[in-house]
Symmetry: C2
Subunit: 179 residues, 2 copies
């Protein structure tokens, strides 16, 4: 079974995933009358588990809606002592080196792992542990905010697998790590 | 006549236009056996003049080849006193506010202006003086270098005019400032 870590994320033209105030309203800049999911369902149906950082986890916990994931969620944190009681059945805490975490998840049958959240994506990229990068670009320049990418120790080459256009305005590029 | 400032530039997936050493070798990452110009000729044939910063000007002066431009080149610099004698017939010095420079060029019949070079593009964006943004993304994460974008005072919305694929690997998005 093909073991892969995948990123599926939206950015502005200038590479931010949240605006200066951490806001996400700009994601709705392009009218979406038919509620296109921009490939999310096709992406998520191949995923076995999700790894997210504490920030993303706490953000999702705070959303005024049902828990949005049906997949196992692993929360990466070295500071959090335990998952709050309200979400004990929703998520599991993991910590340690990313390589070990990945190996453990793979050994438990979680082979296709969705890496979610800004810092977590950056940390996986730093260790060259991202295989697929699916980036959806919203046609807006935010001029500041939370960046998708951070400094890396070395260049990583990718192959473009697919480039898709949504709502005639939003380009989604699927890159795969060259091996 | 339609007056527009246009940017045509290549970036890495993580938004750099030159690597950590200022190098550009990564632009050749994708094999280009038939020497596709990736739309450059179609872009440049509609241009009346080029504005570039001192850095870009000095870089081009240092290239071991013929002067590559047939169009009038205006070099934006508040520090340079004059264009070196070797390039007196190639370029003209301009300084002052970008709005005034644009107005002067327009008044002299230069209506479609190519804004070139990292800092110059950033400065024009800061004053919301970029109408068209043609960004070509090379499938590599550099992990550092000279960024295409910088902090801006406000969000700028664009419309996607066209998304084109070159060499089956390189996506070029043409964005136009929403009016």
């Amino acid at each position: 079974m093909d073991k892969r870590n995948l990123v599926y994320i939206a950015q502005s033209i200038d590479g931010f995933i949240a605006d200066k105030n951490g806001g996400l309203d700009w994601l709705q800049t392009v009218p979406n009358p038919d509620n296109s999911d921009m490939g999310y369902y096709n992406f998520i149906k191949q995923i076995d588990a999700i790894i997210m950082g504490r920030n993303t986890f706490e953000t999702v916990c705070g959303f005024d809606c049902e828990w949005p994931y049906t997949l196992p969620v692993f929360v990466l944190s070295n500071s959090l002592k335990s998952i709050p009681d309200s979400h004990k059945d929703k998520a599991e805490l993991v910590n340690g080196s990313l390589k070990d975490i990945k190996r453990n998840l793979n050994n438990n049958g979680f082979n296709r792992i969705y890496i979610d959240g800004g810092k977590t994506v950056q940390n996986f990229l730093k260790e060259d542990l991202v295989d697929d990068l699916i980036i959806t670009t919203i046609p807006v320049i935010l001029g500041g905010g939370y960046p998708l990418f951070a400094e890396l120790p070395k260049t990583i080459e990718f192959e473009l697998i697919k480039s898709e256009l949504f709502l005639n305005q939003i380009v989604q590029n699927h890159y795969r790590r060259k091996v």
